[in-house]
Symmetry: C2
Subunit: 218 residues, 2 copies
């Protein structure tokens, strides 16, 4: 399958996520924690309310952190599965397609993939502070037409439609589960880590939806 | 706990969901399938794309249908748990609060509860046709400021904020799981039914979000 090959071929050159966003390798467009980021229009109190609603507890925070070392050296394999899923879903691959030719844009896919690797580690890190909040806002803008393509100077679809953001919680966390089980954690701990990941990704996609939502309705 | 008592006291007078929306008992405001409903602005093709993205398969459809008879005579107990959760979460109970006094509006809670009972059965029924689509649109409008309170002539909060819609997928499906296990289904089948419910509720909350999303970004 040609398309799959293109997507697999963009595997990044060994980006190894480390603990702590401030110690991350320099990846173009990865601006987590930088002073240039706009302040998020939603607050830590908003996040607390969403966390309460989706039953996100201290146990979930611990489970996420437990997953960090488990996932660390499996990052490229996880990304292969995720990119394989996108490649086999025409409804999704268009968001990485060249606007003129329709073909998947390898450079764009590769650039996003490097940041995606860091996102796995950042999500597992489970820091919910103002820096994290501002970064979530930036990630939302980069899915929305306000900022999509800008980071990588891509000439691709102008936005990822709203309907896919929260929906992607399921493939991302379902395909993650076998990787959570690969390093000897108990079945109960794998369940806990998986449940925590579902909540953490859903929480993020809700925040990423902010730029899509009408004024005063978020 | 006084608030919990108020919420529990609104238990409806034995509404028993039956198979098929057209055979539902007459519940005020339950207009699923009625010609008065507006046509949904999203299409069956949109739903198919979301289903593909969140890995919703024929197996999930079967698992939902398997859950219908299991949940049927547990409906009131399930609603007690859900209403208990809302009662213990101030961030959520305000959506049922009287706008002037702030106190939970028992009549409003009771009216919604009767339709909530039918929603459990409708979700388990897993019919994804145009009638279902139009009903999803109506349910979205009833959470949004465009139509909230109108059905029950309530004087309550003007909208359920967007941030809570998809988030509620977690408490609804997490608290459902023990009920799925109470009628002798195998552990594997309970897992399958639970996973199908997560996808089905997330799918619906994405559709309900339509009125909140900016023109052209859904």
């Amino acid at each position: 399958m040609k398309l799959l090959k293109v997507l697999m071929a963009v595997a990044s050159a060994g980006v190894m996520p480390q603990a702590g966003a401030q110690t991350r390798p320099a990846v173009p467009g990865y601006t987590y924690g930088q002073a240039t980021l706009a302040k998020a229009p939603f607050t830590l109190a908003d996040v607390a309310a969403i966390k309460k609603t989706l039953l996100f507890s201290d146990d979930d925070e611990r489970a996420l952190r437990q997953s960090q070392p488990i996932l660390a050296d499996q990052t490229e394999a996880i990304l292969d599965v995720w990119y394989g899923f996108v490649a086999s879903t025409p409804e999704l691959v268009i968001f990485f397609g060249d606007r003129k030719t329709g073909a998947p844009d390898g450079a764009y896919l590769g650039a996003v993939r490097k940041r995606f690797a860091l996102w796995i580690s950042d999500t597992a890190e489970a820091r919910f502070d103002q820096r994290w909040l501002d970064w979530q806002y930036e990630l939302g803008l980069r899915h929305n037409k306000l900022k999509k393509n800008l980071t990588d100077q891509a000439d691709s679809a102008p936005q990822v439609n709203f309907r896919y953001l929260s929906a992607l919680t399921i493939p991302v966390t379902t395909t993650l589960k076998p990787f959570l089980a690969k390093k000897g954690a108990s079945a109960a701990d794998v369940e806990k880590m998986h449940a925590a990941w579902v909540k953490a990704v859903l929480l993020q996609t809700i925040l990423w939806s902010y730029p899509y939502v009408k004024e005063g309705e978020f």
